[in-house]
Every structure is written in structure tokens, then in C-alpha cells.
């Protein structure tokens, strides 16, 4: 079933997507589904295991279910310090 999600991109992901965020309809059950579908859409090659994800400003993992109306934050590999 298709869900309407707001997806926000950061750093390398933002540059790759060419946008800060988009609201799209995706047939996704989990954050992993979102990542995989958008990876194809934006031709990104970054492996999922190097990336992080948050839903509605809470850190999540790649098995977390997504719900209609969620805001999904996609974080490329972090490098603080």
C-alpha cells in the first residue's frame, strides 16, 4: 500500500538528489524500503549499512515501519569531529 512521506536529504544525499526535501508516495513498509526505492530514484550508490535514518526527529533503524504522513530523514555516512 502506498504511503505519502516527506523525505529530507542531508549533505551528500541532498547534493545527489538536488533537493532538500520532497513529499512523495511510496510503496514502503519500512525505512529500508524507503532507502532502496530512493536509492534507485536518485542513483545513489552509498551502502545502507553506512547510513542512518530518523523518523519524525527520532533516530530509527532500518526495520522501523513507516506510516502515512511520516517525515523520513536520510543521513549519509556521518563524520563529526
Amino acid at each position: 500500500m502506498s504511503k505519502t512521506l516527506t523525505v529530507r536529504y542531508f549533505a551528500a544525499f541532498r547534493e545527489r538528489a538536488g533537493i532538500d526535501e520532497e513529499t512523495i508516495s511510496l510503496a514502503a513498509n519500512t525505512t529500508r524500503d524507503v532507502f532502496d526505492l530512493l536509492k534507485t530514484r536518485h542513483r545513489s550508490s552509498e551502502p545502507l549499512r553506512h547510513c542512518k535514518v530518523a523518523i519524525n526527529d527520532e533516530m530509527a533503524d532500518w526495520d522501523t515501519p513507516v506510516n502515512d504522513g511520516d517525515t523520513i530523514l536520510l543521513f549519509p555516512p556521518v563524520a563529526g569531529g
Partner: protein, 145 residues
Amino acid sequence: MMQLTEKVIRPDELRSRLTDPGAGAYASFEGWIRNQNEGQAVLRLEYESYEPLAVKEGERVIEEAAVKFPILKAECVHRVGMLEIGECAVWVGVSSPHRDEAFEACRYIIDQVKVRLPIWKKEHYVDGNSGWVNCERCASHGEVA
């Protein structure tokens, strides 16, 4: 307390927040912008963060350190924006009764901050190119914890 700032980090001011009459030890760490990385000459570094979650996750890291080690106070400040060579990108300070736990907690905090907070850096090279820096563990172990 975890804090993000666009202003120059002032370790002397931050240090004064950690004083405590029961503190016999104070350990601090700073990450400075250096002029090279993996063989490329670096001109400056640009830090981007997602502040709400960087602060939340940083607070969590500091709380974890306070549970693991018998410390008194701990703080971390991370800079964002464009930084020049020699500038301080991140500061961690810990005070505690004895030095073992000050060193260990300080090390724990910087290690976790580097791999868990949504902060990214783009290197601007002397040759005019630029690139996002890969995560520390991605390069060495092929895996983020």
C-alpha cells in the same frame, strides 16, 4: 550538555563550566582542522549538521558516559559552518574525582560523537576540488556500528 555553534569555540570558557569542589581531574579533547587528509592538501572544512538530532544524540552520549564512568560533569560543543586550518571543530571536557574516569569518559564521548551524531564535513582541497568525508569506520572497517 551538548551544543552546536557557528561561533569560534572557546575552550577556556567551556572549561569553567566543569569546575566542582570534588573534582581532582579534568580531561579535555579538541578536534582541530588540519592541513591534510589521506594525502590531500586541505584548504578548509565545511560542517553541516541536523541540529535537533545532533543535540539529542549528543546528550544521550554524555548521559551514557555519566552512567559508565563515575564522573562529575561532562560537556561537548561541536562547531558547524566553514572552518579554517587550525580552528577547533569539536571540544569535549570532563571533570571527575580521579583521572582514570576523566580520560575514559572523554574518550568515550568523542568516539561516539564522531560516529553517531548527524554531522557531516566537506573538505575543500588546495587543488580546487571538494568532497564529503566518509565516516571513520566506513573506511577502516567497512561497517558502521
